[in-house]
């Protein structure tokens, strides 16, 4: 089932949580909504689910206008951040809930429900735990029960709110891989919300980067990491450094000095230069480059990170770059470097 969101707007007490958001999700895609807290990603998910009503705009499931339907009619599977398992019901009763509350005519036979529950438990690798209560399960097991419960109603779309948020790092990694695998096997259109970029980049077919109630960029992991289209995406995803620069013809200058790189487009005359710490070289003396004072040097796993102060001593710009492990520089000494991959965003008009 493909999902289309068109010009969606949501206000809470006149404050816009979501502002003119449009998004097309292809059938069977695994989509991550990524953004800092307050970016509107959970609101968007809840609007798709029907747990909130939009102030304006529409949501389409296929050709159907889902925004005219209630949450019950939309037939979605929603996995809540804290799972929201029914604590007074066993695992089996939790999973069967969506089937047992169906009106008499649509409700499967008891034996059929039992069979479906057994199948689902097997699918989430929890066979044998059907008689347990939620408080007798680990976090990762609860998560999978919540997923099985959502899948029991054979949803058109699977929506997950911070699916790994409440788990410890190791379980999180395991479940991440498991969810990708699960998605590939079942082929459901899946949307999940996360604030963890690593999770989004690793798991999703496409990542929707959100900020302040708007979509900043939609693209594959490579797109959003290598070709960020806004200063926000550049600084939000991965590590980055930024410096104010001016462009004069073929030369990019920082504080009037050429820094040895040339712009790709000519229509910018002042903007912010973004680059990633690993995309730098230390040029031989004499070549134009950026120059900074080393304020600290840190060893980080297989690399060495240099903290540099660039510009006037009173109000320097702080920049982090990766330098070869063998480099030996004293704190306070000056270090010259040049970005190899970068992007300049013009100052906001």
């Amino acid at each position: 089932m493909d999902v289309r969101v068109s010009s969606l707007r949501k206000e809470f007490d006149r404050y816009p949580a979501l502002n003119d958001v449009s998004l097309s999700i292809r059938s069977g895609e695994l989509i991550a909504l990524l953004g800092p807290s307050g970016s509107g990603k959970t609101t968007l998910l809840r609007l798709i689910a029907g747990l909130e009503q939009p102030t304006a705009g529409n949501i389409f499931f296929g050709a159907d206008d889902a925004s005219l339907k209630t949450v019950q009619e939309r037939n979605i599977g929603f996995v809540f951040q804290h799972y929201a398992l029914f604590r007074h019901m066993t695992v089996a009763e939790n999973i069967a809930f969506g089937l047992t509350v169906r009106p008499r005519g649509l409700r499967p036979q008891k034996a059929e429900i039992r069979r479906r529950v057994a199948d689902l438990l097997e699918m989430v690798h929890l066979s044998g735990l059907e008689k347990r209560y939620p408080n007798q399960l680990s976090g990762g097991q609860r998560q999978r029960v919540a997923l099985a419960r959502a899948m029991a109603i054979e949803p058109k779309v699977l929506l997950l709110d911070e699916p790994f948020g409440a788990l410890d790092a190791k379980v999180r990694k395991e479940l991440r891989r498991w969810l990708r695998d699960f998605h590939d096997r079942t082929g459901h259109t899946t949307v999940f919300v996360t604030h963890d970029q690593e999770e989004a980049l690793e798991l999703a077919d496409r990542v929707v980067v959100m900020s302040q109630g708007q979509i900043e960029q939609v693209g594959s992991s490579d797109d959003v990491y290598d070709r960020p289209n806004s200063p926000f995406v550049f600084s939000f995803i991965g590590d980055s450094a930024s410096l104010p620069v001016t462009v004069e013809g073929e030369t990019i200058r920082f504080r009037g000095e050429a820094i040895g790189i040339t712009p790709s487009t000519g229509d910018i005359d002042a903007g912010t230069l973004f680059f990633r710490p690993q995309d730098v070289v230390l040029p031989p003396p004499g070549e134009p480059a950026l120059e900074g004072r080393l304020s600290a040097c840190r060893r980080l796993a297989g690399t060495r990170i240099a903290d540099l102060d660039i510009g006037p001593p009173g109000a320097p710009h702080h920049v982090e770059i990766e330098i070869p492990l063998a480099t030996t520089v004293r704190t306070g000494a000056s270090l010259r470097f040049r970005p190899t991959r970068w992007k300049i965003f013009p100052h906001a008009a």
């Binding site: 689910a49 029907g50 747990l51 949450v71 019950q72 037939n75 979605i76 599977g77 929603f78 809540f80 804290h82 929201a84 398992l85 029914f86 604590r87 007074h88 809930f97 969506g98 509350v101 169906r102 419960r149 959502a150 029991a152 109603i153």
Partner: protein, 288 residues
């Protein structure tokens, strides 16, 4: 590990010296014995002063039987009413945002802050002979004041905070997550309430009903004002105790009183059991 003799003498910082500890405990126990246990024992001792025969005979009196029956009837009406009201009010306050919510919350607490006599007098003003409503209703043959409806109204008024007060913090703490999950799985509003909300609050609800019932059966002030004290007709148990006592019929008075005391003890017992088994689930509202 060997303890340094200097540190071994130190107490945990939140513990007092033994003298202070025992003194505090003694004060608490003495106070309770003097003001609670002694009077409670006195009730039972007085009731059985002339033997079990006299005690049982007190319950053969038709007026006493009528009083017990009326008390049960009033509780049987007031408690379910307040159960429904309490759940509805708690649901509204805990799960929705609306204008006047703070006002409603304050209103629910009103019976706790108003003297029961005032609660009774309100109904006298509303339905008395000098009021607008009273004579109008009487022209249709409906008696409110000095009749069972007045007693029920006064009791409902006095006891309505119990269930709501118990449930509001509980439901607020639980939030909407479970309900949203049920709805997303296709459950209707009623199914969600029946299968998800109600099981989540049942122990808190039972706790509130228990306290509500104890108060409904034991209420004196408000009921006394609206009842009119008609023997065999509008006397509840607490009112009947007073009448018997004023007539120097001590054994009968204390016999009926012992029944109320027994109710209190049973309530206390069930309350303790509930707290013991489901403490975590009702902890949010445990402040009465």
């Amino acid at each position: 590990m060997a303890h340094d003799p200097a540190t071994r003498r130190l107490r945990p910082p939140t513990t007092e010296a033994p003298f202070a500890r025992y003194a505090l405990m003694a004060i608490a126990f003495l106070f309770l014995a003097l003001f609670l246990l002694l009077p409670l024992a006195a009730v039972f001792i007085e009731a059985f002063r002339k033997g079990a025969g006299e005690f049982l005979a007190a319950f053969g009196d038709p007026d006493t039987i009528a009083a017990i029956r009326l008390t049960l009837l009033v509780a049987a009406i007031a408690v379910p009413l307040n159960l429904v009201f309490g759940v509805a009010a708690a649901w509204a306050i805990a799960k929705f945002e609306f204008k006047g919510k703070a006002f409603l919350t304050t209103l629910i607490d009103l019976p706790f802050s108003v003297s029961p006599v005032i609660s009774g007098l309100v109904y006298v003003l509303l339905f008395g002979s000098g009021s607008l409503l009273g004579p109008w209703l009487r022209s249709y043959g409906i008696e409110i004041l000095f009749a069972v409806p007045g007693i029920v109204l006064a009791t409902v008024f006095v006891t309505f905070p119990f269930v709501a007060r118990e449930l509001i913090p509980l439901m607020q703490e639980q939030g909407n997550g479970d309900e949203e999950a049920a709805l997303s799985l296709g459950a209707s509003g009623w199914q969600t309430f029946r299968h998800v909300t109600l099981p989540n609050i049942k122990w808190g609800l039972l706790y509130g009903v228990l306290l509500c019932n104890a108060r409904a059966m034991g209420e004196f002030g408000a009921v006394s004002v609206v009842s009119g004290h008609i023997r065999g007709l509008t006397n509840t148990m607490p009112l009947h105790v007073e009448i018997l006592y004023n007539e120097y019929n001590f054994v009968a008075a204390f016999a009926v009183a012992s029944l109320l005391a027994a109710l209190a003890l049973v309530t206390l017992l069930v309350k303790t059991l509930l707290e013991f088994h489901y403490g975590a689930e009702i902890a949010a509202g445990r402040k009465h």
